[in-house]
């Protein structure tokens, strides 16, 4: 019963403005937060360049996972295994670049390998486990929530088994450069995040695969009747999600100079929160890379700001929960 908007020019322009405001609401909220923090933090500490860089660096891992889970949510799925896959990828990757000759190393007799080997191993772990998720969902028709819940436990178990439950540390400086180095003053993790954002944006908006992801979320049956290969697309989605977890594992290991099998526990929840705050809809078919990135930034800025304002971490959790719920309420109203 809804008709297209009538062509009265005054009304259309007002509508255009409203729809613009709605679309970019999350950006305005983010900018508003920044302005408030800039005013209220003591000694202008929020706006110091080092602080801003810190915020971005801190959100890179959450951000990478958020990009992965965003794909799943757009296609009416979810990936709960991200944190565990990250943990497993991290210990595998770290174990290949421990200082040669160190007696506590996981593989004490391993010669010095180029850092790139460890990177590929971490990415490979993520890709493989993600593909298994996709296969379970596409072939056996297991609901994504259940399939990835199972994988969450399995991958965490693998991480403990592989590392004997011990931290994997004393890593090669080459590898640590990924977490601590910089190119022209820009920290490497931020560069990696930037490239991931760009690639993900291009994939979603400029490839057939990207359109298929939105189509599945918009109406899976219609997509199938229109010739979309649902199974293949889903495997692709979860494989990429796993790949992002692998990448996140590498970055965080290189930054903290150690991988523990417990690494990444609960990270998937922050990632889901970022995607949702950024406007990714649990009803499927809606979600953007820039929105998700802003969602991750909001979480980062919020935490940083509350630290600077000396808000107790206990209260911070409450605030973050409220923000997630409010974001969903706004989203609900927007789509009505």
């Amino acid at each position: 019963m809804t008709a297209a908007a009538p062509a009265s020019s005054g009304r259309v322009s007002r509508e255009a403005i409203t729809s613009f405001l709605r679309k970019y609401l999350i950006v305005f909220i983010f900018l508003g937060m920044c302005v408030l923090l800039a005013i209220f933090t003591p000694n202008n500490s929020f706006l110091k360049p080092q602080n801003l860089i810190n915020i971005v660096r801190q959100i890179t891992v959450t951000g990478l996972l958020a990009l992965g889970v965003m794909l799943c949510i757009i296609a009416l799925g979810i990936d709960l295994s991200l944190g565990s896959v990250l943990g497993f990828a991290a210990v595998v990757s770290a174990s290949l670049v421990q200082q040669p000759g160190w007696k506590e190393a996981l593989w004490p007799n391993l010669p010095q390998l180029p850092a790139i080997v460890a990177v590929f191993a971490g990415l490979g772990v993520g890709l493989a486990l993600g593909s298994v998720n996709g296969g379970l969902i596409a072939v056996f028709k297991i609901p994504p929530f259940i399939a990835t819940l199972g994988m969450m436990t399995i991958a965490r178990g693998f991480a403990y088994i592989y590392s004997n439950g011990r931290p994997v540390s004393t890593l090669n400086p080459d590898f640590l450069w990924i977490g601590g180095g910089d190119i022209l003053g820009i920290p490497v993790p931020i560069i990696i995040f930037g490239i991931a954002i760009l690639l993900m944006h291009m994939m979603l908006n400029f490839t057939r695969f990207g359109r298929h992801i939105y189509a599945i979320g918009g109406n899976e049956t219609a997509a199938r009747v229109s010739g979309v290969n649902i199974g293949r697309t889903k495997v692709g989605i979860y494989a990429i999600s796993g790949l992002m977890a692998g990448l996140g594992g590498i970055v965080i290991t290189a930054r903290t100079q150690s991988a523990t099998p417990a690494l990444g526990m609960g990270y998937e929840l922050d990632a889901i929160a970022a995607a949702v705050i950024g406007g990714t809809s649990f009803a499927g078919g809606i979600g953007t890379v820039w929105g998700t990135v802003v969602g991750a930034l909001i979480i980062g800025v919020m935490r940083n700001g509350m630290d600077l304002l000396n808000v107790s971490p206990f209260y911070q959790q409450v605030v973050q929960g409220i923000v997630i719920i409010v974001a969903i309420i706004i989203d609900e109203r927007k789509n009505r």
Partner: protein, 500 residues
Amino acid sequence: MAEEVLLRMTGISKEFPGVKALDDVHLDVEAGTVHALMGENGAGKSTLMKVLAGIYTADAGSININGVPITVPDSATALKLGISMIHQELSPVPAMMVAENIYLGREPLNRFGLVDKGLMIRKAQALFDKWQIDINPRATMSTLVVAQMQMVEIAKAISYDARLIVMDEPTSAISEREVAHLHRIIRSLRDSGVAIIYITHKMDEVFKIADFVTVFRDGRHVSTLPAGELDRQKLITLMVGRELTHLFPKEDIEIGDVVMSVRGLTRKGVIEDISFDLRRGEILGLAGLMGAGRTEVLEAIFGVTKTDAGTITVNGKQLTIGSPADAIKAGMGLLTEDRKKTGIMGVLSVRDNMSIANLDRFSPNGILRKGQINAACEAQRTALALKTPSLAQVIKNLSGGNQQKVLVSRWLLTLPDVLMIDEPTRGIDVGAKSEIHRLMSGLAKEGKAILMVSSEMPEILGMSDRVLVMSGGRITAEFSRAEATQERVLEAATVVAPAA
């Protein structure tokens, strides 16, 4: 009894962002009458009824029942006031029993305060017995076919013992036989003093059942007349505000060679030994009652469902079709029956909805050629006179007719030889309907072969060069355009065929 005004709505206005859905509308309904609301989609019929049922709140206006002013803040209040409503879109709880669905939210309780299932089932059975509805109240809702669900919904609305029952397109999903049944129920309710407001797009029904007809156009009240003073042409004129010259403009053109041959197509228990040829420039109508297996034939051909036997040949090449993707590659398109469930991707843009079936050609190496997509979609938008502010518009904001045009475009972009269309004009308004018909006729003229399933007899008779009639999963008759009459088609559709 017929003189008593039961419901009086005056000065009702309701505005949605960008649309004035109702503009100073009035409506009087007398007890013991059937009052039809007519109008194109977007005319405001459903909106007015949703105001009455407490789903929307009007911006202005008043509602009186038996002369007493009332307010209807929510559906529960509406029910208490004796107003029940059958909605256009069914909302069953699939995992629950039929009886539980009927008494949802007002389950009879035993003395321990627990739900008394036995009593509930007995009450449902009594209700079904009274109205001669042949459905098991213990059956799980999800095992019912759509027509049965619709009957349950109707039974539910009656079970409230309402003074006024609103029926919003109650017959859009049920067959002629069930329509007749529903009409018997309506007459009997009317004779017992209940007022019925009946919204429909089907004019034949209006003349069969209605005492009064109110026509809406663009959110305004156009006129209210006794049904006896109206005829089809007059009604159409009132609804669209213009003379419709051709309702069904299928042009006579030269029918070409066979494009598609189907032989012995069988899916056990659903369709049996379906064989026919489809020719270039031809519109082949597939008629039959609900559940005759028409949609299932299209789905089997298109690879949506698996088949047990049979061959499909397109352009002389025998095909193995394992999925819709294979069918599309072979030059077929399928516009599905249920626009919302299997057609549109609601939250996506017009452009995404239009281009989805042809992305393989729009992105030969996986990278989208956006310029090409835009140009192709723009061309479709112009060719089909699609009413949308832009190609980026979210499709669910379009009217039903325009959504249907987008779906037609989706398949035209794939340049199919064979286009299968399931219920081309279900739930869309008269103006858009005739545009879709003109479009189909034009496509046939261009040499496309069209296989059309329709439950509307005038559409079948008006549009088809040839008519196949199905019953019980089999083809029971074939008529040429000249041979096909309403009586013949209906007779073949009600032949009791041996179960497939």
